[in-house]
Amino acid sequence: MNRLPAERVQVDISIDKQIRPILDQQASDAAAWTILLPRERIPFLTLAYGKEDDRKGQRINYDPLTMEALPPSYSDGASNFFYPFHHNLTLRHNNIGAWIVGVASMGMLCLLISGVIIHRRIFSEFFTFRAKAKFGRSNLDLHNLTGVLPLPFYILITLSGLMIAFMIYFPDAYQGLYNDRQPQSSSQAARVPTAERQFLTESLGRKRLPKANIPAEIGSLDAMVKDAEKHWGNNSVYLVRVNYPYDAKGNVVLRRTNDETITKNIDNYRYDAPSAAFLERYQSSVTVNVWNFISGLHYIQFKHWTLRWLYFLGGIAGCICIATGLFFFVEKRWNKHQKQKIAGSRLVDALAVTSVTGILVATAMMMLLNRLIPETFESKAQLEQYGFWGIWLLMAFHAFSRQFSRQERISAGWHQQLFLMAALSFLCVLLNWITTGDHLIKTFIWSPDMAVAGVDLVMIIMALIALKAGLMLRNKHDSRPLNKLSEA
């Protein structure tokens, strides 16, 4: 990954003098140039360009101080693996992954609302956690506490996640109101907008103007940015897209950052490329802004570290709620299923181990591979992902094998995978220090880099919690033979 300190965001860059020469040299015949200016989250400059069918095919990052190209990152890391994994499981064919996530999210939404309805003592559960009670009692208290306290967060994150992907889930909505126009001839076919394109143009301002095929010069991009920032405020433009550079009908679209607002900002200014004259301004309607606000609450692009940490804690509470809920589910059915000789609770327990601790081990392993595989290795991303899926599969085998040779009340799979996770997390922090020279004292005190320090610190805390939970589960397990348990 490209790791540049965040203070480079403050650098003043002249697009005309520093960026255009690079694009002229590398991509004068491209269908579009995309310039992403450095900002707090991404402190480097990104230039992307390509032909009509792949407008961002080439993507190069630059150090905004020296304007030197940064070495390419061969790792997909968090942005290109974990981020798509969370909304489509990286199963992109026919949006299968997005549909699986959508069904699960809808199920979760129903659970959250029905949970509120059936809980008569919902307010008392805010304040009830008997940590020193018997394992079953404290586990249920923890489940209720983590289920009730962040409830608004769960509803918000689930509903907004679904709403963001509405074009996948409800294609009939826009196809019903925007009829696909039938082209009169084959030459017209490429120019007739589909229902989806018409809807995107009207609702989100994603318009594509035709080119003239007549050569022309490009006006001052700096002047366009300056003009837009007169309305939006200083340093508010983060994206400059030049459609059809060096064409008489080329146009430039400017978009602003979301740093200061919760609402996802999709407003844009459009300029004529040759003359730098203002063409039009797109502003979302009030209704679209409601959707932008809901999406913004999910994307968390705003600059507010306290809120970001609250989101993080809400997410962790959700994981605890699911894990303790699965424990409770198995506990409640265990004796009954043993008597009836049904494997239901064993199956659920094995799946719970795989999906709670298994995925954590796989994630830690991916981070470990990220440190072990050299930065210059071209297949780094594939190897990291094979590592993630492979280890997760291995954890599933481990969880099932522990279940079906199991003699204890609580599967040994839980504490064994927790110990493995703790070890891998410590190793990640150690390897990061060895391979980059970044250790906590350096990233916290000597030359503060909170992004790196935050990851290291969270890994250490997670490792300690995993160690503690693993020891607790190992000590709590009931070693009576199963036939005695079923008689209990």
């Binding site: 709403m163 909505a173 019903g176 209704t287």
Partner: protein, 100 residues
């Protein structure tokens, strides 16, 4: 040791049927809402947005209702009957040229 039972399989089949018919009904309700608010004067893009944003709430309410029906095996039938009714209304909107 058995890893499945007939009752579990039939429960899974009913849940699947409720989910699918619930989705179809929700989709039709979304289109109906979008068409209706468009006819009431909202812009086309806004009408779609209102429809889809309400759609997830519709879906949630419908699923909660469907899973509370007893006997539960009747739920997919109710959902499909409602789907047919709304589909006819939406089809009429289109046939009469009331949509955009």
């Amino acid at each position: 040791m058995r890893i499945y039972s007939l009752s579990v399989l039939s429960t899974i089949a009913i849940v699947f049927a409720i989910t699918l018919s619930g989705y179809w009904l929700t989709s039709e309700l979304v289109v109906l809402t979008a068409n209706s608010v468009y006819l009431l004067g909202l812009a086309r893009a806004d009408a779609v947005m209102v429809g889809v944003m309400l759609g997830f709430i519709y879906g949630c309410i419908l699923l909660l209702w469907a899973f509370s029906i007893t006997p539960i095996k009747k739920a997919p039938i109710y959902l499909l009957a409602l789907f047919a009714c709304i589909w006819v209304v939406n089809f009429s909107f289109k046939a009469w040229g009331l949509t955009a």
